[in-house]
């Protein structure tokens, strides 16, 4: 769909835009900026509208603006038989019929091919404040955010980066003062100029009262952009810090108040695995880092298990295989815990093939099974 990258119609008075699926959200927002509007869903920088709809993507802005399915007005879809449908009108509200638009949001391309989407837009905020606060632990940071949100603070973004992420960030900083190697909460407040400073006062006071310290607030918009750039480019900092490393990542999401408990349990489970490994020094340790959209109860743990950069790979091969197996076990544990807490195995990445956790039959059986009206889930 890469060549279907046209903006079909922009209606500033209606605050909506119709685009083809190959348009990148970043390019779209560049076009909309002079008109004071933007699409506030912000997944990875290279995401395109079609993929964002198909996975119901979200990003750091989700805590204030919701996910992709909240911003789609209608879709044009080619069905498997070749028929073309438009899921609904362009009106902001419609209480008629089944919600076909949402049926295709998050369907991961299993129901049809999206060829056009009409998206809602919103105004660019008048004022933004960006800041960062250090914490001694991931749990205390997540707990403080949970308290701030419960107190009525409405940040545009509120993100957790653990000490490993901060160490990686520090490596890539050149002309900016380095951060203490601790868990950090990065936040962005946005809205009317009269409201945002009040929100900042409440948020920072709650974060500082609940274990926060070493507050850093950007004093002007340029500094704010630079500070937020650290969060936006975190993935690149990690790649730079751990070159060639294989990563197993999770995307669990739980109700907000359960997040600190889930993170704490994740660390305990990891420690238990490492204690079992301690007898055999050659096996090494299972390491991981955490970053989270803590305002949504969503966090990603990344277990890094292979170090091909080390020249003598053979010495690590056996250990890495074992570590990879243990990382998969830890992944399944965090998913089981998230589900037990009323959460989801994927907050924003989708299911794809990976999260089916199934041993597939051969392709012909697979095709037939898909159309049986029974779901086989016997343990093999």
């Amino acid at each position: 769909m890469a060549k279907m990258n046209k903006v079909v119609a922009f209606r500033p008075k209606d605050m909506d835009v119709t685009v083809q699926p190959g348009v990148s959200w970043n390019d779209l927002n560049d076009l909309l900026k002079p008109h004071g509007l933007f699409l506030p869903v912000d997944p990875g920088p290279h995401a395109h509208i079609g993929g964002m709809i198909s996975t119901s993507a979200s990003g750091t802005n989700a805590v204030k603006y919701g996910t992709m399915k909240d911003w789609v007005l209608n879709l044009t879809v080619v069905l498997p038989g070749g028929k073309v449908i438009k899921t609904r009108s362009r009106a902001r509200k419609s209480s008629t019929g089944y919600d076909l638009t949402r049926l295709f949001c998050g369907a991961e391309g299993t129901l049809g091919i999206i060829t056009e989407a009409t998206l809602k837009l919103t105004h660019l905020p008048e004022k933004e404040i960006v800041g960062a606060v250090a914490f001694d632990s991931n749990t205390s940071a997540a707990d403080a955010v949970s308290k701030a949100l419960a107190a009525g603070v409405e940040p545009r973004c509120i993100e957790l980066l653990d000490s490993t992420c901060i160490a990686a960030v520090n490596q890539s900083l050149k002309n900016t003062p380095k951060f203490p190697v601790k868990t950090h909460i990065f936040f962005k407040l946005a809205g009317q100029a009269s409201v945002v400073p009040q929100q900042q006062a409440v948020l920072t006071s709650i974060l500082m009262q609940n274990g926060g310290g070493q507050l850093r607030i950007a004093t002007d918009p340029k500094e704010g952009e630079r500070l937020w750039e650290i969060r936006k480019t975190l993935a690149y900092s990690l790649v730079h810090a751990f070159p060639g490393t294989e990563v197993i990542s999770t995307d669990v999401c739980v109700p907000m108040s359960s997040l600190p408990i889930l993170i704490e349990q994740y660390k305990k489970d990891q420690e238990q695995i490492n204690e079992e490994l301690a007898d055999d020094e050659e096996e090494g340790r299972l390491n991981s880092l955490i970053m989270g959209h803590v305002g949504d109860g969503n966090f990603h743990s990344m277990m890094y298990v292979c170090y091909p950069i080390i020249t003598d790979c053979s010495a690590f091969e056996k250990g890495n295989k074992q570590l990879k197996k243990l990382a998969k076990t830890l992944e399944r544990k965090v998913v089981a815990n998230a589900l037990a807490l009323g959460g989801s195995c994927s907050g924003e990445h989708g299911v794809g093939h990976h999260k089916l956790v199934l041993e597939l039959f051969n392709s012909s059986d697979n095709r037939n099974l898909c159309h049986k009206n029974t779901v086989q889930m016997n343990y093999s």
Binding site: E108, G342, D365, N378
Partner: protein
Amino acid sequence: MPQEYGPNELLLMRSIKSAIDQNNIMNPGALLPTGRWSRPPEAPTIDSESILQSSIMATEELTKDTPKKIKSSTENSGSLLGRSWGTVKRWGWSSGQASSSASDSPSTPSEGAGETKGVWKEQGDGA
């Protein structure tokens, strides 16, 4: 997916998929499970029951500082809306629903809000 959704929910998703994509040509193998578990799912290592219970506010706590008591459907029975809704629930709004409505929805105004059960308890009385 099979851990997150029950068999009935997965069956409904599969039915939607089958109805729209009869030949399974749209991204086959993604999203919906089509085979057997490769291994039993991992058991939670967390005491979720007590955590979930602790996050629920008791009903008495919820209503204790409410200045104006929210009327229950029993108290609404005197109003025109309450009476009409009670009639709809007793008799249903189509012949197909009449029997199930009469048996499944005891939350008519005369019977009181505390006696709701099944789907009505889950969803409220809809008024």
